[in-house]
Amino acid sequence: MTQSNDYDNIPGTYVYNAERGRIGYALNMFCMSLNKAENRQSFKENEPAYLDKFTLTPEQRRTVLARDWLGMLKVGGNIYYTIKIAFCDGLTFQDVAGMMSGVPKDTYVQMMLAGGRSVEGNRFKDAAKAAE
């Protein structure tokens, strides 16, 4: 049973709640292992072999190998953990944020310089849809 929550209608947001904590544990703990320099090296040398050490689902494994940042969130990834993969790739939080929101890096950077993404029209899923 999946519980419904009053934050579920916030658009484009994956709250790291109990459900995601349950399904995402192994994925996030793989990411945690990348805090060690020797593990980062092993991962870079042979990603599939390194991932074999963790019990990821096929979809979790795919999202990691494909660097599908948004996909990782949908299978229980937590951004503070998945960002460790991005750091391995030499990417920043801002690079990954741009990719998750589906815009080119420069567009995202310009949006932030202009004051960020407005909350207007972005509070509720229905409103976000209506604004499209």
């Binding site: 484009g12 805090n35 937590n78 939080f93 801002q94 929101s101 960020g116 509070r123």
Partner: protein, 282 residues
């Protein structure tokens, strides 16, 4: 007796630390943010703190999902700098104040706040960036530091009201410590920001401004903001602002705002710095 002289609210964006570590604070991107930090450093130096209690969250560095403490206090005499996935920040090691930290742990638990106690832990940007922001790049940090971690990564974090009450309990504990110490307390994180999902990059200047205003106008009312309201209005990671209530609860209700700086953007985040002083300590 020990006394809390001031509280500091400070965003802890990792990119701010990187900009300092790489000497980029004068670039057109960073200069507007950093020019607002100068006067704050002078104010903090004038406070002559002996110890800082830094309320922050660890970001998958000292702790993982293996064990998730809601409230944790570091009682070690030394806290190494964490490797967060790209090497440790080149900043001084953080020295603790074990006597006051253990006193806090005992007092808080007997005051019904069931703290986790850490004898060994590293500290990440959540703690070191606010230190850098408010003291610059000293060879050694100018005061002892007690890390106090709040879980805001695994939902749900403790409520704002609970955090405020923890702050009040910290105040009682500090007030009962016999040594003459000048203590400051940091509430870190925020302000509005969202690092994840299609809505990444969300900023809400109106929410942030009201929040900053109400830290002095209506600190108790501010504690009633729900997690969903933080996430909806200030972004999923904006919920970090619950940690500011710990700081606020440790101050006098009529503490005065002596400094404010707010700037968008620092990477994905609205960065703020506010200093509040206790009239009772003046």
């Amino acid at each position: 007796m020990a006394k809390i002289v001031a509280g500091i609210a400070c965003s802890h964006v990792p990119a701010i630390g990187v900009a300092m570590d790489k000497g980029q604070t004068g670039t057109p991107y960073w200069e507007p943010l950093f020019k607002g930090y100068g006067p704050a450093r002078e104010l903090v130096a004038k406070l002559k703190p002996d110890v800082a209690i830094v309320v922050y969250n660890d970001h998958a560095n000292a702790f993982s999902l293996e064990i998730i403490p809601t409230f944790l206090i570091g009682v070690a005499d030394k806290f190494p700098i964490a490797d967060e996935g790209f090497g440790a920040r080149p900043v001084p090691v953080v020295y603790g104040h074990p006597q006051l930290a253990w006193h806090l742990a005992e007092s808080l638990i007997l005051d019904e706040f069931d703290m986790t106690i850490a004898n060994e832990m590293t500290v990440d940007h959540g703690l070191t960036v606010p230190l850098s922001v408010t003291t610059g790049q000293p060879a050694e940090w100018p005061f002892k530091v007690i890390p106090l971690c709040v879980n805001v990564v695994q939902y749900p974090p403790p409520t704002g009201a609970r955090c405020f009450k923890l702050g009040q309990a910290i105040r009682r504990a500090v007030d009962s410590f016999p040594e003459d110490l000048r203590v400051i307390i940091y509430g870190t994180g925020g302000m509005s920001h969202q690092l994840q999902g299609e809505r990444a990059g969300l900023i809400n200047r109106k929410f942030d401004t009201d929040f900053l205003d109400n830290l002095t106008k209506d600190p108790i009312g501010l504690t009633k903001i729900s997690h969903t309201e933080y996430m909806r209005e200030a972004g999923s990671e904006g919920v970090e602002m619950v940690m500011w209530h710990v700081m606020r609860g440790a101050l006098d209700l009529d503490a005065v705002e002596v400094y404010r700086h707010y700037h968008v953007p620092a990477s994905n985040t609205a960065a703020a710095l506010m200093i509040l002083e206790n009239r009772s300590a003046a």
